[in-house]
């Protein structure tokens, strides 16, 4: 039961891990010259970053859906689980929105300049 205390944090934990991974991938790509390797119409660096972005959004969306189900389940249990369930859902949705917005620059901003 004590594990439910993590519910409000789950969405933003995913967001934070994605931040580290994307920032790291951006730095590594510049250091190792991924931008010089062409992959179809784009370069490897962009491909990796966009791929990570999409994976991040997918995971955040999945987390939000899971948190919505938790919210529904916990609502029937009463206090304090219902608070954590609802806070988890709000947190998951906020993290999804934050993820879409914060990492969207991988789609159009120059990677190593």
């Amino acid at each position: 039961m004590a594990r439910r205390i993590w519910l409000p944090l789950i969405g933003f934990i995913v967001w934070a891990v994605a931040f580290i991974v994307l920032y790291g991938a951006q730095a590594l790509g510049c250091a190792f010259g991924w931008g010089a390797i062409g992959v179809g119409p784009i370069d490897l660096h962009r491909l990796v970053l966009v791929g990570l972005y999409l994976v991040t959004i997918a995971i955040l969306a999945q987390a939000a859906l899971w948190l919505a189900r938790q919210d529904k389940t916990l609502a029937g249990e009463g206090a304090p689980s219902d608070l954590l369930g609802r806070a988890g859902l709000y947190g998951g949705l906020a993290a999804l929105g934050a993820g879409i917005f914060t990492y969207a620059p991988v789609l159009f901003v120059s990677t190593c300049v």
């Binding site: 944090l9 934990i13 967001w15 920032y23 991988v106 120059s110 990677t111 190593c112």
Partner: protein
């Protein structure tokens, strides 16, 4: 066995005898949160006055162009110390003090989780602060800015002890902050009144829980950065020297990884105070309790994704800037959620305007302006124009004074009656508020203009005829008006303690537990601990208070002269243990003095003395423990209200266990920052790859790796084997010896590294291994200490805490050590690849 009931007066006297702090010299042995909370607040206020005086010197210097009031050398020390004092010695300790004093009361506990740690933290704060301020008096204060940027703070450019004073002094003070973070987390989660499930917690406790979590993650990067820079300055390990594979930007990353969350660490407790005060004066519950909880969680996480907005001009690629710019703008949303919740609360209620509400109104005006300029600075193009100009000085003061000082003044006028038992004398409070509001805006609003007109920060003087003269003069006039306002507040507080009208319970008709006790608060807070059945900010203290004073509730008695309070399930708030707290002791003071000796010895490069001091610190810490715990199993204890629960020593998940997990989380953050530093240098720093690397690295890792695994295995075996059996002792001693084996292996590996002074590769590898070595040494000490605890009778099949703590430490050490060994093995390959 049911405990005999005492009359309220006898109960009060019996409790006071046990929980109270003695007179005279015994005050130095105080561990009570009431005493220490007040001491923190008073000390923070003294440092605020010192920081304020320094700001007066700054404004006097800048009032006119070409000023010769103080030269640039002194000016550099003054502005550095102004920032350092205000951030590290005022803001953080002030909210720590407020939390130390208030949290147990709001939660329905009799003290914090670890009273002696509170006392030790206080002494670390005082001694560290004294070193910093003393350096100013002797003219050797830090002079590189409160952010200590390298290479300015590196040995060649700051050859004196000035920078060392900052690095060692601030780290000393940060011990206090880390301890406070652990205490707050454990207290909020485990020491609430029975029935106070998470959804019934007062909102201030949520704020402090999130803040403490942020401190736990936010402070280690600064502590690590300070240690690395001190190692560079003292021993020549070039972490930040670009000519030897280091990078000054690594310092900036580590500093701002702490520095930006720090702004929110300061803001959130103040926001917690606002979320407590506004509903009281609006006479309605806080609107959006759940939304506010989510907002502070969101703010906490987002605040860790902003740090690079302090580094927008250092040449980082646009994409990275865009991440941080987006997150910087985004953090305005959870902030706005709280602001709208407060406005909605006022709009929904029937507000009455008292002095605290004046400061709340001041907060709204000042903080919102600071927030808006913050969004401006989050935009990269604008930031690059305004960077390091007075616009930034204006912005940060609007955020910090608006977001912390105004709410703290509201909090002061709201809670001072709790400290004094008297109501404020309003005659001075109103003009004081207006002087502060007008003085503040006169001082800092104009700095937006001087900044936009191009005036850079940190300049000791400026030529005339650039259009800055009259703006600076007015700013200086405003600064002095502001100071007069604060002086009036001080006089008002003195007047309140001397002449204020005494009151009964709950003068503001609040709904939180701190008002359900006599004021000034007794040392034990509650003669009996209440059962909470509704949200703990909608209680009736006037009704509840007399019942508790009469001993009607949990633990409304004295047992064996012990300091007892209740521990609860973190989620449900149902009681699950009787917590027996340690009594008053001089050991925290002596431990603080010994720690101070270590710091001073390092400052003056007397490393043999620092080593002796360290042995003293360890010895004193070990002296804390005899008497802590039980020597026999007692089973469930009566807690009143027809309930019985075991003592904390017989519960697996007790306070010490939670504290260990919490501490390890902070420790892991420091380690992760170190590993980040290693990767950062490999990928970004110039002068890589190094000329010499570790040869056949994996061979060198076998011995320490085996030691680490065996040590952890020994602790697991010790936990599973019968207590006191030969196997049990053998496993513990084996674990200690295995830690020794790991230490030997690590020393050999460190010896095999290329000279750590030659290149950052060697330096960072050395630091990673040294981290493992320190943890192994502590692991060995814990193993042999546990042997003593078992022999002394503190451990049994039911009292397994020592075994669990040691196992957790060894597990973490093994994991971190193995990761470190892998890193040291891989670094040569990585550096070649990246180079």
């Amino acid at each position: 066995m049911t405990q005999p009931r005492l009359t309220p007066i006898r109960l009060h006297k019996a409790m006071e005898r046990i929980w109270g702090t003695g007179p005279g010299w015994q005050r130095l042995a105080a561990v009570n949160h009431n005493v220490l909370g007040k001491r923190f607040i008073v000390a923070a206020f003294v440092f605020f006055a010192i920081g304020g005086l320094l700001s007066m010197v700054i404004r006097a210097q800048l009032a006119t162009p070409n000023s010769a009031f103080i030269g640039p050398e002194v000016y550099n020390q003054v502005f550095t110390m102004h920032g350092t004092v205000m951030m590290f010695l005022f803001a953080i300790p002030m909210f720590e003090g407020l939390a130390i004093y208030l949290l147990p009361k709001l939660l329905g506990a009799r003290d914090l989780a670890f009273p002696r740690l509170t006392a030790y933290g206080f002494w670390c704060y005082i001694f560290g602060g004294t070193i910093l301020v003393g350096a100013l008096v002797f003219g050797v204060a830090p002079a590189s800015g409160w952010f200590m940027y390298t290479p300015l703070s590196s040995q060649p450019y700051s050859p004196g002890i000035n920078a060392d004073v900052w690095l060692l002094g601030v780290t000393f003070v940060e011990i206090s902050a880390m301890l406070a973070a652990v205490e707050i987390i454990v207290t909020v989660l485990k020491m609430r009144a029975p029935g106070m499930s998470l959804d019934k917690m007062p909102i201030f406790a949520w704020y402090m829980l999130v803040t403490a979590g942020m401190m736990l993650i936010g402070f280690p990067p600064l502590i690590l950065g300070s240690i690395l820079l001190e190692m560079e300055r003292a021993f020549g390990l070039p972490f930040f020297d670009p000519t030897r594979g280091g990078d000054p930007l690594l310092w900036q990353h580590l500093f701002w990884l702490f520095g930006h969350p720090e702004v929110y660490i300061i803001f959130l407790p103040a926001a917690g105070a606002l979320s407590t005060i506004i509903p009281v004066f609006a006479r309605t519950p806080l609107v959006g309790y759940r939304a506010v909880i989510v907002a502070i969680v969101a703010m906490a996480f987002l605040s860790f994704g902003l740090w690079v907005h302090h580094m927008f001009t250092v040449g980082i690629p646009h994409l990275a800037l865009a991440f941080f710019s987006a997150a910087s703008a985004l953090v305005a949303i959870p902030t706005a959620v709280q602001i709208f919740a407060w406005i909605a609360t006022i709009a929904h209620g029937k507000p009455r305007f008292d002095i605290p509400m004046l400061y709340v109104a001041g907060f709204f005006v000042v903080f919102v302006i600071g927030g808006l300029t913050g969004v401006m600075l989050a935009m990269v193009p604008f930031n690059q124009q305004a960077h390091d100009s007075y616009f930034v000085v204006a912005h940060l003061h609007y955020v910090l004074v608006g977001g912390f000082v105004f709410p703290m003044l509201a909090a002061a006028y709201y809670w001072l009656p709790h400290f004094s038992g008297r109501m404020p004398v309003y005659r001075l409070a109103v003009p004081a508020f207006w002087l502060i509001l007008v003085g503040f805006n006169l001082t800092f609003f104009l700095m937006h203009l001087t900044g936009l007109m191009g005036m850079p920060r940190r300049i000791a003087t400026y030529p005339s005829a650039w259009g800055w003269d009259w703006l600076n003069l007015l700013s200086s006039v405003g600064g002095f008006v502001l100071t007069i306002g604060f002086a009036l507040v001080l006089m008002d507080i003195i007047a309140q303690f001397s002449y204020g009208r005494r009151f009964g319970r709950d003068p503001f008709e609040a709904g939180t537990l701190e008002w359900a006790m006599p004021t000034p608060a007794p040392s034990y807070n509650f003669a009996a601990i209440p059962r909470i059945t509704t949200r703990a900010d909608q209680l009736e203290p006037r009704v509840l208070g007399p019942q508790l004073a009469g001993g009607h509730g949990y633990l409304g008695f004295v047992r064996d002269d012990r300091m007892e309070t209740l521990g609860v399930n973190a989620m449900t708030g149902e009681p699950d243990q009787v917590i027996i707290l340690p009594r008053q002791s001089y050991l925290p003071l002596f431990s603080g003095l010994a720690t101070g000796l270590v710091v001073l010895a390092m400052l003056f490069k007397l490393y043999w003395l620092a080593g002796l001091g360290l042995v003293g610190v360890i010895g004193l810490f070990l002296l804390w423990t005899p008497g802590v715990g039980l020597k026999s199993d007692s089973g469930a204890l009566d807690i009143g209200m027809g309930a019985a629960v075991p003592p904390d020593a017989e519960v697996d998940n007790n306070l010490a266990w939670w504290a260990m997990l919490t501490w390890l989380a902070g420790d892991a953050t420091l380690y992760a920052s170190l590993l980040f530093g290693a990767l950062f240098l490999v990928v970004v720093a110039p002068a890589w790859p190094p000329q010499a690397v570790l040869e056949s690295g994996w061979l060198w890792t076998i011995l320490p790796g085996a030691g680490l695994v065996l040590a952890a295995g020994g602790r697991h075996l010790a936990e599973r084997s019968p207590v006191g059996s030969a196997l049990h002792y053998g496993a513990l001693i084996g674990s200690g010896l295995s830690h020794g084996l790991a230490i030997a292996g690590l020393v050999l590996l460190m010896g095999a590294l290329p000279d750590p002074r030659a290149h950052a590769y060697g330096a960072i590898s050395f630091a990673i291994l040294f981290y493992g070595l320190v943890h192994c040494a502590i692991g060995a000490l814990l193993a042999f200490y546990t042997v003593w605890r078992v022999k002394a009778g503190y451990v049994s099949a039911r009292r397994r805490l020592d075994l669990r703590l040691g196992r957790a430490w060894s597990d973490y050490t093994a994991l971190a050590g193995l990761v470190g060994l892998a890193m040291v093995t891989v670094l040569p390959w990585l550096s070649g690849g990246a180079g």
